[in-house]
């Protein structure tokens, strides 16, 4: 049986089920216990699992992340919730220099089953320090897995998988997605890392998108369909590991690609996916890969400017049309 539930409830189910199954799973974060978290993901868990396994922390992101990494090294299964991905910058040393490197530095003997859950993206005028999409920062660090679900079922299945594997995971949610609904099967749901999902099949152009860009890509695809253009929307779901095979298979079919990311254009994950496609599918491309991305500027407070600084549905449509040579290339957003 499949129900429609919210993204945040799907996340809670994943945590709840894994906490029930494994006494080593615990969660720490700011306001996650008593208050149930700013996005209500952890609501009710304190009552169910008690203050030993569901803990509020002071405002100390570097410490929380570091302590989480240490706990993971010592064999527990921490979930550290960081309120905004922006604040993860405070704990970068622990992520980059400890969590990601420990396995290599110990010659493979040490493992770090650590999860940092956090959320990013623009949303309603929270301005430059609360609106970033920073997946590229983690993507570049060998040893970190980067998970970025766009739909409730993915969120649940991937978080459950994360809680069973052995490497540090950066689990990136999106502030706009928490209250979106989607079908989630009842019962056990575990989704392996590295498996892209075709959110809509098509043959004319491949649109690669993740997180909150997936609903926008789907909306664009629906509009394109009205013009007779069948866009395939591919959601990698995990950026590390990346399902290169699925991407290349789609490109082999469509010969045209649009990559959509909310993160700023310069040095984003889209660029890297583009580089892989041009490296491995150069001769099957009928047009340059189009990247639709955030502008190279911090996100402004003003709502109109905020909107202008990240990809909107018409931007995706225009890019898709360009790959089909139906629209001249304008200066790309960069």
């Amino acid at each position: 049986m499949t129900r429609e539930i919210m993204y945040r409830d799907a996340l809670r189910e994943a945590i709840d089920e894994e906490m029930a199954a494994n006494p080593l799973v615990f969660i720490i974060g700011e306001g996650i216990a008593e208050r149930g978290g700013s996005y209500k993901v952890t609501e009710g868990l304190l009552g169910k699992y008690g203050p030993k396994r569901v803990r509020d922390t002071p405002i100390a992101e570097a410490g929380m992340i570091g302590v989480g990494v240490g706990a993971a090294i010592a064999g527990a299964r921490p979930i550290v919730e960081i309120l905004y991905v922006d604040f993860a910058m405070l704990g970068m040393d622990m992520l980059v220099n400890q969590a990601a490197k420990f396995r290599l530095m110990t010659g493979g003997n040490g493992r770090v089953p650590f999860i940092m859950r956090t959320q990013g993206g623009t949303g309603g005028g929270v301005a430059a320090q609360h609106s970033q999409s920073l997946e590229a920062m983690f993507y570049h660090v060998p040893g970190l897995k980067v998970v970025i679900p766009s739909q409730p079922a993915d969120a649940k299945g991937l978080l459950k998988y994360a809680l069973r594997q052995q490497d540090p995971v950066i689990f990136l949610e999106h502030k706009h997605l928490y209250m979106t609904k989607g079908p989630v099967p009842e019962g056990e749901l575990v989704i392996e890392f590295g498996k892209a999902d075709i959110k809509r099949p098509g043959k004319d152009v491949t649109i690669i998108a993740w997180s909150n860009m997936v609903p926008r890509a789907l909306e664009a695809a629906a509009k394109l369909a009205e013009e007779g253009i069948e866009a395939e929307v591919l959601d990698p779901r995990t950026l590390v590991p990346l399902d290169k095979e699925a991407i290349l298979a789609s490109v082999a079919k469509t010969n045209r690609v649009v990559i959509v990311q909310e993160a700023v254009r310069r040095g984003g994950v889209a660029s890297d996916i583009c580089s892989i496609i041009q490296e491995e599918a150069f001769y099957s491309l009928d047009a340059p890969v189009e990247i639709v991305a955030g502008l190279n500027i911090p996100v402004p407070f003003n709502l109109e400017l905020e909107k202008a600084s990240v990809p909107q549905v018409p931007d995706i449509i225009a890019a898709a049309r360009r790959t089909l040579h139906l629209q001249p290339r304008a200066l790309a957003a960069q």
């Binding site: 700011e30 306001g31 008593e34 922006d86 003003n302």
Partner: protein, 328 residues
């Protein structure tokens, strides 16, 4: 030594009026600002300073032109106490081009560098290193300016508190760190965040002169701060001041703050810093009620004018935004 023991002379009428004006202006700004928020005119975060007015008021009254302040996510009060133009503040909240940050910043980022306000900050605790840096800049420049960071109980758990206050100490910077201990970080009690809720002790541990004061008493804050400023100008900085206080409502406009015990809230409301500023003014100067009314009226009008001004202002255009991007 308690602040009171140091009072060299009784406060002047001028000072008392200034303290009241400032505290009241903050009160009006926040109370009316919340209304604008509820009308949908303000978006994003809005963290009211209601209940904490005594601190910004007392601290800034002890500063002079050329001094520098750095603030928190709960920054409106510091901004006003530091003499900001209410018009430009409201315009910023309404995301208008005439705002302090031309609508790019919003409540959490209002700044006025030209006047030495380094701004509010969305990262809890970040104002401490930034303020220490400004104090360092002044030492490099060789002037006697004082820099103040307003921080929070939460901010003192950010590791840069230790790192940067320690730098201020070894370099004897002309710097005052004011910790507004309002007992909460959102819904988390200070007692749940540390075994030692007297935060000034963290300064003592690294050799920094550190004090505690009733943050709801603007005059006490002023006197302690005046001494701190003087010491800083004599090269005896940095100094840490922990000011105990309490919010009058939830963490931000949309937080009902149910976790705040009613009795405790009542206790602090009885010690309302705006009332205390008003009482001090009337009791110590004998100023009459009509004069107080006139002051209040003028301040309310200033705010209303600011709203009108802001509503009439335009927003940044996309073309201007593009220009900014090209130069970034």
């Amino acid at each position: 030594m308690p602040a009171s023991a140091k009072r060299a002379n009784a406060p002047s009428a001028e000072l008392l009026e200034k303290l009241f004006r400032t505290a009241y202006k903050i009160r009006v700004f926040e109370t009316e600002g919340i209304k604008l928020y509820r009308q949908g005119l303000i978006r994003g975060y809005f963290h009211p300073y209601l209940g904490q007015e005594g601190i910004a008021t007392g601290v800034c009254a002890a500063l002079s032109e050329g001094d520098i302040i750095a603030s928190t996510h709960r920054g409106h009060g510091h901004c006003i106490a530091w003499g900001a133009d209410v018009k430009k503040m409201v315009a910023e909240l309404l995301q208008k081009e005439s705002g302090y940050c031309r609508g790019y910043g919003g409540s959490m980022h209002i700044a006025d560098i030209s006047k030495g306000n380094l701004g509010a900050n969305g990262i809890v605790g970040a104002g401490t290193p930034l303020g220490v840096g400004a104090a360092l800049a002044n030492q490099i420049k060789g002037n006697d300016a004082v820099t103040v960071t307003f921080s929070s109980d939460g901010g003192s758990n950010n590791g840069t508190f230790l790192e940067s206050l320690n730098l201020a100490a070894i370099w004897n910077l002309s710097y005052v760190l004011v910790i507004e201990n309002n007992h909460y970080a959102v819904s988390t009690r200070i007692e749940d965040s540390t075994r030692e809720p007297d935060l000034y002790k963290r300064g003592l541990a690294i050799g920094v002169e550190s004090h505690q004061v009733d943050g709801n008493d603007p005059l006490a804050v002023y006197h302690l701060m005046r001494d701190a400023v003087q010491k800083c100008r004599e090269g005896k900085g940095p100094i840490l001041i922990e000011a105990k206080t309490f919010r009058h409502m939830g963490h931000h406009v949309n937080d009902p703050g149910k976790y705040m015990p009613e009795k405790e809230l009542a206790h602090y409301k009885e010690r309302d810093p705006v009332d205390r500023a008003r009482n001090a003014l009337t009791e110590m100067t004998g100023i009459d009620k009509s004069q107080i009314d006139a002051i209040e009226e003028a301040i309310r009008k200033e705010f209303d004018d600011a709203v009108e001004f802001s509503k009439a202002s335009r927003e940044i255009t996309l073309a201007e935004f593009q220009q900014f991007i090209d130069s970034y």
